[in-house]
Amino acid sequence: MLEQLFNNVALMIVLTGALVGCAATLVGTFLVLRGNSMLSDAISHSIIFGIVVVWLLTGEQSGPVQILGAALTGVLTVFLTELLVSTGRVKNDAAIGLVFPVLFSIGVLLINLYARDVHIDQHTVLLGEIGFVWLDTVAIADLPVPRSLLWMSAMTLVNLLFIVLFFKELKLATFDPALAKALGFAPGLLFYALLMLTSSTAVAAFDAVGVILFIAFVIVPPSAAYLLTDRLWLMLVIGAAISIASSVLGYWLAVLWNVSIGGMMAVMTGLFLMLAFLLGPRYGMAAQLIRRRAQARANENRTLAVHLFSHEDGPGEGEENVARALRDHLGWSEARAREVLRRSLDENLVTREGELLRLTPKGRALAREILEPWELGTGGAQAPA
């Protein structure tokens, strides 16, 4: 029964993809919130250097040594970047863009020189091959567990553990680093730990999805989640959910169209981001548009009410407070004037008395809110004589 599960190629692939997504989202959430997303870009490129060096030294392509090596490479990248910035000669973004290409270049050249005929080739490192994860298995309790799946599970657990243990500290260090420092936490140290986990996750993920698609999993699901919620823990949960959904959907589409599985999974994260961007309940474009529209309408109603109020019982009432005047005096188009009038009648702000438009008590209160704001809260119903 269990063995059948592990022999199910599709399930293994989807599971690996989902784990890559979850592990990456867990660390990525904090990078996105801190405004350091591009560090994941730098780290995931430069770990090629680490992978190749560790491989040349030990001959191991994956496993704990590789993961440790990657963690150190990640730290090296960030350290070199900060070193460059601290000289005051180079801006932060330029420093990032200087360091990782150098490490990446050295890595690629080392591959060119020493690793021609082996499994590590630049193509795999860059793009990964999640479709073949089930070929490389380890027997655990007689079950053929894919190696990638094993390492990704481990990294997901480690990341989860880190975040659960240091949730409070991470939250504080992310949203208010100054306070975190003042309270005696070490936000810098915490940040370095986070980056080490990011690069370890990257190396565990690289033969599945490659180092560049990994960036998509680090940045995109947390960004999408950020557009959907204001709560940190919910952001983590939504990000993970988007990763899992992307993995399932991506696998299905990739098989359907016979294209790269890892690539399709990453594209799906982008799709979810666009959905969140367009349809998110509070920050989505649609919601913003609707809110803006409602505000514009309320403004028109208010304008009408104010216009009627200021001419109410005045000498020009018969001329001003009629439908025609809305077009001539307020400069509204015929259609717009009719629309606003209809809405105001519907909302019981205005009534008709023959030609004349009269404010209802509700409409008068609305106009007063604007014209006599000092009356607010002091029983505005009693108008000054």
């Binding site: 270049s105 690629v108 193509h123 960036i215």
Partner: protein
């Protein structure tokens, strides 16, 4: 060496690399000054789907349509980034990362679709990942040269405007320049630079080609004219070096070689450029420290002498050391050479003592007086 220069392939490669160096150096200068260094990274990764689409449309590895495709998808990614960061609470870094990774993913999908379709000439596509100088044809040079010339022409035509937008966009807007249009134009031109570099450096490393020459050039000059010209020269030198080594060598990828060459120039420039070089700064700091130490030792001696109401009071070296918590022998020796202190004996002790010379007293009073003025 001469035969090397006459080699047809090497000539082609060197010319291509020179063009790449010029265009990326010039446009990179603006990108770095406008703190948009990583935009090149996003644009170049996002070129991958365009490369694939161009390949599909042309039905083969034809540079013209591939470059148009790369330009279009690169620009789309930049647009997406702007859309996301302007209309939502995502910050620029997330926008850049999203554009980069999602577009690259689309490119990977398209690449696999093309490879799956068994198109016989698809082999050349992967050279766009890391760059392969040897794959450049003479005909490609015309296209690259055309793009480079067009970009340089634009820079010359809008020189004053670009300069103003790079250094003071608010002022530029206030005198009625179309800032947004100019920024869009600069972005598109960076995309042009990226496109020229695709064959040589590849999509992954183009970011550094935009940044590195500009950062190196910035070290040597304070003027935009000089920076742009120097960046072009550095880019050109690095490009030609990397491309020629790669074309000669044992299948070393071109992109990494070019990037390492240019980065070496950056490192040297950071260290030894006059004025801004870190090495000179270290020397300056070291000298200043020596000077400050001398001043401190001198005023200590003056203070001890004043305490004993004797301007020529000989202080024991050990007590001066104790006062400063560190050895002061070197500082005292330096002061002695300047004629401000002289060694003395203080019977009945046999240890070394120091006493101020009249010049030393005057100098100490000058230092203390200056300090007093600053404090008040």
């Amino acid at each position: 060496m001469l035969t090397l220069l006459q080699d047809y392939t090497i000539q082609t490669v060197a010319m291509g690399a020179a063009m790449l160096g010029v265009i990326s150096g010039v446009l990179g200068s603006f990108a770095v000054l406008r703190k948009q260094s990583l935009l090149g990274d996003t644009l170049s990764h996002a070129a991958l789907p365009g490369i694939c689409l161009g390949f599909v449309v042309a039905g083969g590895r034809e540079l013209g349509s591939i470059l148009v495709g790369a330009l279009v998808t690169g620009a789309l990614a930049a647009l997406l980034m702007l859309l996301l960061t302007r209309n939502s609470r995502l910050k620029t870094d997330a926008g850049l990362g999203i554009g980069l990774s999602v577009f690259f993913a689309i490119g990977v999908v398209l690449l696999s679709a093309i490879q799956g379709s068994g198109n016989a000439s698809q082999g050349g596509l992967e050279s766009f990942l890391f760059g392969q100088a040897a794959a450049i044809l003479r005909g490609d040079l015309w296209i690259m040269g055309g793009i480079t010339l067009a970009a340089l022409g634009l820079v010359v035509a809008f020189w004053k405007e670009f300069k103003l937008v790079s250094f003071d966009p608010v002022f530029a807007a206030s005198i009625g320049l179309p800032v947004v249009a100019l920024e869009v134009l600069l972005t598109v031109m960076i995309a042009l630079a990226v496109v020229v570099g695709l064959q040589m450096v590849g999509v992954v490393l183009m970011a550094a080609m935009v940044i590195a020459p500009a950062v190196a050039a910035r070290q040597w000059t304070r003027r935009l004219e000089g920076m742009v010209a120097l960046a072009a020269a550095i880019g050109m030198a690095g490009g030609v070096f990397g491309a020629v080594v790669s074309a000669l060598g044992r299948g070393l990828a071109t992109g990494p070689l070019i990037i390492l060459a240019v980065s070496a120039v950056v490192l040297v420039s950071l260290l030894v450029a006059p004025g801004r070089g870190l090495l000179w700064e270290a020397v300056r700091r070291w000298r200043l420290r020596g000077q400050l130490e001398g001043q401190q030792v001198l005023t200590t001696l003056y203070g001890l002498a004043a305490h004993h109401r004797d301007p020529a009071y000989p202080s024991e070296q050990g007590s001066v050391d104790a006062f400063h918590g560190t050895g002061t022998r070197a500082a005292l020796a330096k002061l002695q050479r300047r004629g401000l202190v002289r060694p003395a004996r203080h019977a009945p002790e046999f240890t070394r003592h120091w006493t101020l010379t009249p010049a030393g007293i005057a100098e100490a009073e000058r230092i203390l007086g200056a300090m007093g003025r600053e404090a008040s």
